[in-house]
Amino acid sequence: MSEASHSLPAMIEASHGTGGKMTHDLVERVFVPAFRNPRLEELGDQAVFEVPGGRLALTTDGYVVKPVRFPGGSIGDLAVNGTVNDLLMGGATPLYLSAAFILAEGLHVRLLQELVQDMAAAARRAGVEIVTGDTKVVDGRPDDAMFITTTGVGLVPPGIDWSPRRIRRGDRILLSGTAGDHGASVMAARFGIELETDIPSDTCALRDAVLRVRDIPGIRCMRDPTRGGVATTLAELSEQSGLSLTAEEIAIPMREDVRALCDVLGLDPLYVANEGKLIAVVAPETADEVLRGLQAVPETSGAAIIGEVTDDRPGYAGLRTALGALRPLDLLPVEQLPRIC
């Protein structure tokens, strides 16, 4: 127990990363109360848990988004939802997360607390526990705040084997909702562009949606389109399956204000990031059933069938435009930047 209650310092200092008293203080007063679970509270170097026999899924991701808070969420939300979704995309039930924090010296502790609270709330909604973690402190530049790496583990039930290898010609492509929301909401605040929008990031965990449809036969694979947008995921799946995922432009759900923002900045919304959407490739016989299942869950109520798998241009994705022409959807070599021309 600490002596007379001293308050937390206002800002993160180098000593918070040394593993000494200040680190322990920070962990016990910021991270543990937020994440609160018995394994974490043991504060061992590792968390130990039983797994029933079967296959484990393991995934990891680093989160470096700037600004750390944006309409609809924060880096805390992304760090949980992104990793949970990566597990779900393999058909795994998400179980536990670890979280490694790299904090910039000078970060306001109050901001850290808010972001950690965001993570805790996201974890509760996603049905996972954050059971172990680490904290380091680095010299920071003024607009750096924190980087988070989360690693997640989940359990894949027998009989689930989702992979691009399983995609077949004639399969349907499903998208769980509007494209480009997250990237649009962040872009409006980046580069000092100062566009006012009501576009919220779509960050969310897709647990309910995936678990609801997981047992429907005919699901070949799922993938969540994050950075690089829907087009990049279609291009990747085409490359990895050796087939052509072809989307219909008019079938892709999109918010009007996202489209408008992309028009203003000269961005292609199909290449703009998402954080709470999934693409599912499903055999034609069960595509409608999977669609209805997704539509019954709030996070994926806007799901639609956006296209079909062909073998016209093996390895390359395509878009049938509103005019009826077919244009390639290639991997973008570089990040999209706003343009005027």
Partner: protein, 84 residues
């Protein structure tokens, strides 16, 4: 040189800076180049400037001229016999 989008002027503030709504996205836009624009007008927005007022009457006129062209060239209306 080319990216300009239509937006609706919501209000004109000080120093010829207006608030413009473009499909649900809003930004401050300079009216320096079209100072006669008023709230309610539609303008073409390019790099944070209104370049020109969009002339609704002309837009309507173009639609009519096009319809006449279709009639002259005997082009079926949408939903008619499908084109290959």
């Amino acid at each position: 040189m080319c990216l300009a989008v239509p937006g609706k002027v919501l209000e004109v503030g000080e120093d010829l800076i207006a608030s413009v709504d473009i499909g649900g996205v809003r930004r401050r836009v300079s009216l320096d180049l079209v100072p006669e624009v008023v709230a309610g007008d539609y303008v073409l927005v390019h790099v944070g400037f209104a370049l020109q007022r969009i002339d609704e009457a002309e837009a309507v006129r173009t639609t009519r001229l096009l319809a006449e062209m279709f009639a002259q060239d005997d082009v079926p209306p949408p939903g008619g016999p499908s084109t290959p």
